[in-house]
């Protein structure tokens, strides 16, 4: 199952996503990996997409490390090409965050941008690859679309790409939750997707 979690910055979406995945793992252990899984020996994987570039990013990453500490996550840093990632046996995956992943995939090192449709497809293929390698996949993305602020054409193109990526993931997802200041608001639930 895929659960997508969105929200503004500082909304508490990461903490919500982590706790939801832990709770789900306890309440609904899948039998995909047999006995080993039932004894909870397989780790939860945390796939981090933020490139630790500069002090601010490092601080942010450290805050997330502390947030996850003791929750049993095993961290994999992966900035691009999720499709090529080899996934160890696991009892759940948390991907954070699609907004970083989209930027990493979209911008070249010289600041130019890649083709949008290809970038979109590459990201979605990566997500589909991960979803095949786990029984419970939680994806954290970011809401950056509800304001105007004299964005450059480059930033506007990125906003458009992320909007399209989020729509595609929401289509694939069984559940979509928007976190508003720590409060989870259901956008799409398992029941609806069963229809």
């Amino acid at each position: 199952m895929i659960h997508m979690v969105t929200g503004g910055s500082g909304s508490g979406k990461s903490a919500y996503a982590e706790d939801w995945l832990l709770k789900r793992q306890k309440e609904n252990p899948c039998t995909q990996y047999g006995k080993e899984y039932k004894e909870n020996k397989l780790p939860l994987l945390y796939i981090a997409t933020m490139i630790p570039y500069g002090e601010e990013a490092k601080k942010k990453i450290e805050r997330h490390h502390q947030l996850r500490a003791g929750k049993g996550f095993s961290t994999i840093e992966r900035y691009t090409d999720l499709k090529g990632l080899e996934i160890p046996a696991n009892s759940g995956i948390l991907l954070e965050c699609v907004s970083n992943l989209a930027a990493n995939e979209f911008y070249c090192e010289d600041g130019t941008m890649k083709e949008r449709k290809e970038t979109l497809d590459r990201i979605i293929e990566g997500i589909q690859h991960l979803s095949r390698e786990t029984c419970c996949f939680t994806i954290v993305t970011n809401e950056v679309h509800s304001d105007i602020n004299g964005y450059s054409p480059e930033t506007e193109k990125y906003r458009e790409l992320l909007g399209m990526v989020n729509q595609r993931i929401a289509e694939l997802a069984d559940r979509v939750t928007e976190v508003v200041y720590g409060i989870p608001v259901c956008i799409k639930s398992d029941e609806q997707s069963m229809e």
Binding site: M4, T6, G8, T141, E143, V144, H145, S146, D147, I148, N149, G150, R159, E160, L162, G163, M164, N166, Q167, I169, A170, E171, V176, E178, I187, K188
Partner: protein
């Protein structure tokens, strides 16, 4: 009246076309004022407000006029007021005015939907 709102690039028009497949649409980026009163649906409504304000035309009573003259219209607008207040004075005024107009429209609308990541949630009606 039905109001469909959400951030940019959320699939609002696609959602609206699915919900209301029978209606025709005008585009707020290029339509004239008269179109607002005769069309079945308008998308990029925020862009209409921006254009009118850039031309120096009064939009104070826009919501009232639409409600009165085209009460069955479906209106799609971006939500643009969630971020930091823009530095540019025009953007500040346009952003605020769009909020005021959509709030009035929402009060008059029988139904308001908010679209997030392509998925619509009815928040009124």
């Amino acid at each position: 009246m039905v109001l469909i709102i959400g951030g940019a690039y959320q699939g609002k028009l696609r959602y609206a076309r699915k919900e209301y497949p029978e209606i025709g649409w005008v585009d707020g980026r290029e339509c004239g004022e008269e179109d607002l009163y005769v069309c079945q649906g308008i998308h990029h409504f925020h862009a209409y407000i921006e254009r009118m304000m850039r031309e120096g035309r009064c939009v104070d009573d826009l919501a009232g006029r639409i409600s009165l003259r085209n009460p069955e219209v479906v209106i799609i607008s971006d939500e643009i007021g969630y971020g930091i207040v823009p530095v540019d004075p025009f953007e500040r005024e346009y952003r605020e005015m769009t909020g005021r107009i959509c709030t009035e429209l929402a009060a008059d609308a029988k139904k308001v939907c908010r679209v997030v990541c392509g998925i619509g949630t009815v928040i009124k009606g």
